[in-house]
């Protein structure tokens, strides 16, 4: 009887699981079954054992039937609910069941800098030909904790990500592979140091060139939080997991323009979950993951030991695969031959692959990682050249590369060295020697293409002004060159700080004309359109756009997005929300990437990412500084789903390669810069500046309030606070933007830049 009772309990649990899965909607008469279950429980002793067993059997069969149906018709939103169930396996279960042994680093339960992030040194044992081989790995992942309050549902604080970063570096030092397990609905959006966005950016930046094999497994991949530990050489996903740019509820709130506090309609959430393409199969099709780990029907729960065995095999095989990919060809071939001979899966693992890498292999690992990410999400945009064009372009790029290398690296360095030698020698005071060498130096200087490193500062024509004699204008001041169309209105604006500083109402033509949108009294910056910057920051007529043909698309076929994209294109006359161009600042040639608000609020999708990466590549080739001016960015374009999310590691990878090659990467934030881009390729820059009165952050007020319950002050994301927290390196006045930029170009960056 007891065994039967246990069975009944099990069935009850399954019913509850289904009820939750179906969002309490009495699907397939679940309520009825539940009632039967309850009745049975109350009336256990009214039945004979056989009768009771029969009832249970009947119930079991019905539930089995329902479970099968549920699995067959599993909707994306139901998958989300599976993942969120407290019965789902968590990282702790994996550590217990997949790994032989583990030591958690930095915490025991809630005595932890961030209980939502678990780092553990674990050993994994492979049995090959009955001989155990123990390998040490670093396991890093979020812990949802089966509903434990202090785990925060796996929503990591910035400190947690910082901890993860520390142990990634430990793993790098020790040369052991890292296994990442992503179980997060998203990062905890607080800005206090180290800061949600900035810490994620630092993590991605480091991971992009971490010198050990990295494997990740995604069960619940919520955008930024997932990326913080998601960049890896082999990405796997649980068949019932989800990986998405935003939670379906969040997407629905944006989509339906739902006011805060009011309920988001359920149907809309379902629809959004569908549109976001967040399931494992979708992600595999999109190429954002490499492999799906099959789970039992309706998802693996904490006691699915068969699943853990499978997971263990998959994780090991993935690590092997990554390691083998870096091995020289012969080793790989011998493994392949043996693998083909092997009949069963169990046999397949009968090869010992050492997870240690030598320097060459590490180099190959990094190159492959770079290629892997470069190839991701290329289906998300259009406008790439045709194969013939591509060939010519490639040729051109190669010539450029050779040309710039010869010009700046070889010739200039050579010349510098020669000059240094001569200087040293002549410095000793041997007049005769100097007399001898001077014709040679002159000749060398004459021959070299870089004759004079001083800049000839052009006298800019002063526009306007009542007086015919043009006053000697400082070329660093580009005033009166362009007036914002905002200025064509006869009305006044009240400065938001008027109560605090007693600012007078500002007359719009003054404000947006002469004052460059800055309140005279308190220095509050009003938003200006991106064209103002194009005209007032760079040398006149120096802007040459490139890659304008790369076009933002709707790769997921997101309903209704085509029209919106079309209207943006029409409005701006451009194909994507990122403008990339060559320009000059006081005759220093720079490459600029500019996210601007007119095009879908500066959100980053595949096209924008591609343009950014190409800008990095151009800057790297030509040894020019790269400036990323962020007029506004609303984050990752949610309509591109995970294709958008992959822009984070993808772009960071590219910019890291540019910086490592000796580039100077300056980021300037303006207006509003939030979420994904800040948490990746913008936030990783060593030189980040903000225009006064701009806002920089990870999540907006509403999201913070809804996810954390904290009511943040209105200036929470202000540039000043970002500076206080150490997220940015300085605040610039818009009126001095050009001057500051020039100063930065002259004082920052390595000697590798072309003008050094």
């Amino acid at each position: 009887m007891n065994a039967l009772l246990k069975q009944l309990h099990k069935i009850e649990e399954r019913i509850n699981y289904l009820v939750q899965l179906k969002d309490y909607s009495n699907w397939g008469n679940l309520d009825g079954f539940k009632e039967t279950c309850d009745k049975l429980k109350l009336t256990v002793y009214d039945h004979s054992e056989d009768q009771f067993a029969g009832e249970i059997q009947k119930l079991h069969e019905s539930i089995c039937f329902l479970e099968e149906r549920a699995e067959e018709q599993l909707t994306p939103m139901e998958r989300v609910r599976i993942v969120r169930s407290i019965q789902r396996f968590s990282l702790k279960d994996i550590l217990e069941n997949v790994y032989e042994d583990y030591t958690e680093l930095g915490g025991e339960g809630d005595a932890n800098i961030d209980p939502a992030m678990v780092c553990a040194k674990a050993t994994i044992v492979r049995r090959i030909k009955n001989k155990p081989y123990t390998a040490s790995v670093m396991v890093i992942g979020q812990e949802t904790g089966h509903g434990e309050e202090f785990r925060n549902g796996g929503s990591c604080k910035p400190e947690g990500n910082e901890k993860a970063l520390r142990y990634m570096k430990v793993a790098e030092t020790e040369g052991i592979p890292i296994h990442f397990y992503v179980f997060t609905p998203g990062s905890f959006p607080v800005e206090e140091y180290p800061g949600a966005a900035q810490q994620i950016a630092r993590n991605i930046y480091t991971m992009s060139k971490l010198r050990v094999p990295m494997i990740s497994m995604i069960s619940e991949g919520g955008s930024g939080g997932a990326e913080a530990i998601g960049l890896s050489d082999y990405r796997m996903m649980c068949s019932h997991g989800y990986y998405s740019v935003i939670s379906p509820e969040g997407a629905a709130a944006i989509e339906g323009k739902v006011k805060e506090g009011s309920k988001v309609p359920k149907e809309l959430i379902e629809v959004c979950a569908e549109r976001l393409k967040l399931t494992a199969t979708d992600n595999l099709a999109l190429g954002t993951i490499d492999h799906i780990i099959q789970e039992p029907p309706l998802g693996a729960r904490r006691d699915d030991f068969a699943f853990f065995a499978k997971l263990r095999a998959d994780v090991m095989r993935a690590t092997d695969k990554v390691v083998l990919g870096t091995k020289s060809f012969r080793a790989f071939r011998s493994y392949e031959i043996r693998r083909k001979k092997a009949e069963t899966e169990a046999q397949e693992l009968q090869v010992d692959v050492s997870w240690d890498l030598n320097d060459d292999e590490i180099k190959r690992l990094l190159a492959q990682r770079s290629q892997k990410y470069r190839a991701m999400s290329t289906q998300g945009f259009s406008g790439l050249p045709t194969p013939t064009e591509k060939f010519f372009r490639r040729m051109q790029e190669m010539t450029e590369e050779v040309y710039f290398t010869i010009r700046y690296d070889i010739l200039k360095n050579h010349q510098k060295q020669v000059q240094k030698v001569f200087k040293d020698v002549s410095g000793e005071g041997t007049v005769i020697l100097k007399r001898v060498t001077s014709p040679i130096t002159t000749a060398l200087e004459f021959l070299s293409p870089q004759k004079d490193k001083k800049f000839v500062r052009p006298q800019l024509p002063s526009a306007g002004g009542a007086l015919p004699p043009s006053s000697a204008q400082d070329p660093i001041e580009l005033t009166d060159t362009y007036t914002s169309p905002l200025a064509n209105m006869d009305r006044t604006i009240t400065c938001p700080n008027s109560e605090k500083y007693g600012c007078k109402d500002l007359w719009v033509p003054d404000l947006f004309g002469e004052f460059a949108g800055v309140c005279e009294i308190c220095g509050h910056h009003f938003a200006l359109e991106h064209k103002w910057y194009l005209k007032n920051i760079f040398d006149p007529d120096s802007i040459r756009l490139f890659n304008s043909e790369i076009t933002a698309e709707n790769p997921l076929g997101y309903t209704g997005f085509d029209e919106r994209l079309q209207s943006s294109k029409k409005k701006t006359g451009r194909n994507a929300g990122n403008m990339t161009f060559h320009a000059r600042i006081m005759d220093i040639r720079v490459v600029v990437s500019m996210l601007y608000s007119d095009f879908r609020n500066g959100t980053v999708g595949s096209a924008e990412g591609e343009k950014f990466i190409q800008a990095c590549e151009v800057a790297k080739r030509t040894k020019r500084p790269l400036i990323s001016y962020v007029h506004t960015t609303g984050g990752i374009r949610i309509q591109e789903g995970t294709l958008g999310v992959t822009q984070m590691p993808k772009c960071t990878m590219a910019v890291r390669e540019y910086i490592d090659a000796g580039g100077l990467y300056i980021v300037v934030y303006d207006n509003n810069s939030y979420a994904g881009p800040v948490a990746s390729f913008l936030g990783c820059s060593p030189y980040q500046f903000a225009i006064r009165s701009s806002r920089i952050g990870f999540a907006g007020h509403r999201v913070i309030r809804e996810t954390t319950g904290i009511d943040i002050p209105p200036d929470y994301h202000s540039a000043r606070n970002a500076l206080k927290r150490g997220h940015i390196q300085g605040i610039w006045d818009r009126r001095e933007f050009r001057r500051n930029l020039y100063k930065s170009l002259m004082t920052m960056g390595s000697p590798h830049l072309y003008y050094r």
Partner: protein, 471 residues
């Protein structure tokens, strides 16, 4: 002179100038509106108008420097022109620009905003003047940021002074972005220069956010002269002679002015004073023609003891002391009213007369009666005036906003200026005697909150009459 002017003028100022503008408008047959603040509601410029009712023509505003209020009144009362007076918005090109460019444009009675902008910037004025070979105070005409360069300039300026036999050569180091006497240091020895330069540069950086510095020769023994120009929008430009405004309070506020600028009866000059006066008038007209100046304006000059003139700056407005020049000028045997001329020309009329119809004769003196303690650093006196009486002659006139028929509390918000008195005569000697007599006959009584008697600068004015037009 035609009298078919149309329009309604908003007078955006207070005190005696508001009254003078009011009267000028009446003379020209123009309607006008005045504005006032709470502190000024007892002032004559308000009390002579109607502050309520259907034909209200005095409107209360929060501040004379609140453009939104002023434009709101202008729109509400259907004004077509605006007269800024002096001070407040008179030299604010943004205000002038806003007035002329707004959806309901107003005629700004004054030079057009572009002229105000280009001449309002002292450094720019200096640059333009130098280009026209008009002498300005020796020194830099653009901010210097480089210490080495600055020292070279300083050395040169000091050397030049030695070459000119100037007894105590000295230079001034100024913050380029500063003004009103802030951030100015004197250097007499080149050894001290770098220290002072750094000090001023740091001050400028801290205070104004820009470390630019100007270096100029420091002039000690000089007279402050002004040339009154009147120009029309039709390219006519004439002058109304020169005046001397050397006598100033410690705060560089003028107290006694006289016209003409120099007179041999007062002092034996080392130079030909008529020639210098002609020269500065010519230079002034030259610069005015170059910038297409189109209303009244004053060119300020510094004349050194040796007779070298230097252009100081241009005041693109009507000045307090405009009437000093008017009282030595005769148009058809009558003193011109420069404010009336300004309004007329500002509204686009032609001048109607030539330079040669202006006749200069005699001398005039202006006395600025201020409630201040000249012995205690010209500290303003605040209290209530109980008796206020000026003598009346056909060789004098008084402009005041202080009522003579009732008590008047001096508002603490503004300068305690009480009245402008003008006295003129056939010669400077006669004008001086009349001025002394006039001062003696003035009766001003009042008391402060402690019952103390009123303190005015009448004695100071009288004592300074002898100093007029001397070095």
């Amino acid at each position: 002179m035609s009298n078919n002017l149309q329009g309604k003028v908003l007078i955006a100022n207070r005190g005696e100038i508001a009254i003078r503008i009011m009267n000028a408008c009446k003379d020209l047959g123009l309607e006008y509106i005045v504005v006032y603040t709470d502190a000024d509601k007892d002032s004559e410029h308000v009390q002579r108008n109607r502050i309520s009712g259907a034909d209200q023509n005095a409107w209360r505003i929060t501040s004379y420097t609140e453009p939104n209020d002023i434009f709101a009144v202008a729109d509400h009362t259907q004004c077509t022109a605006i007269h800024p007076g002096y001070g407040f918005f008179s030299e604010d090109y943004r205000f002038a620009r806003r007035a002329t460019l707004r959806d309901r444009p107003l005629t700004f009675i004054g030079p057009n905003w572009e002229v105000i902008k280009s001449l309002g910037d002292k450094i720019n004025t200096k640059r333009v003047a130098n280009a026209l070979k008009i002498p300005t105070i020796p020194g830099t005409d653009s901010p210097i940021y480089n210490e080495m360069e600055a020292e070279e300039i300083a050395q040169r300026l000091l050397d030049d002074q030695v070459a000119q036999d100037i007894k105590a050569p000295s230079i001034l180091v100024k913050a380029a972005a500063g003004g009103g006497g802030m951030g100015i240091e004197e250097v007499t020895e080149i050894e001290q220069f770098r220290r002072i330069y750094r000090q001023v540069q740091n001050y400028a950086k801290r205070q104004f956010g820009d470390g630019g510095v100007l270096i100029e020769q420091c002039l000690r023994d000089y007279n402050h002269l002004e040339v009154q120009l009147v120009c029309s929008r039709h390219g006519e430009r004439i002058h109304f002679g020169s005046r001397n405004c050397t006598i100033q309070s410690t705060g560089r506020q003028k107290r006694v002015e006289a016209a003409p600028g120099f007179h041999s009866s007062c002092f034996t000059y080392d130079f030909d004073e008529q020639k210098v006066l002609e020269q500065i008038v010519d230079y002034s007209l030259k610069l005015a023609a170059h910038v297409h100046y189109d209303n009244v304006g004053t060119w300020e000059w510094i004349v050194s003891r040796s007779g070298r003139p230097y252009l100081l700056e241009v005041n693109t407005r009507i000045q307090v002391e405009n009437d000093v020049s008017a009282r030595i000028s005769y148009l058809n045997h009558q003193h011109p009213n420069l404010i009336r001329e300004q309004i007329r020309l500002g509204l686009g009329e032609k001048m109607g007369y030539k330079q040669k119809s202006v006749e200069f004769k005699g001398a005039s003196i202006e006395l600025r009666v201020v409630a201040e303690d000249t012995r205690r650093g010209f500290a303003p006196w605040i209290g209530t005036i109980t008796e206020f009486h000026f003598p009346q002659y056909d060789w004098s006139t008084v402009y005041s906003h202080v009522p003579s028929d009732r008590e008047y509390g001096i508002p603490s918000e503004y300068d305690p200026n009480l009245a402008l008195a003008l006295v003129w005569g056939d010669s400077m000697a006669e004008a001086k005697i009349r001025a002394a007599q006039f001062i003696d006959e003035i009766v001003i009584r009042g008391q402060d909150s402690h019952g103390g008697p009123i303190i005015t600068n009448l004695e100071y004015l009288k004592n300074n009459l002898d100093r007029l037009l001397t070095f």
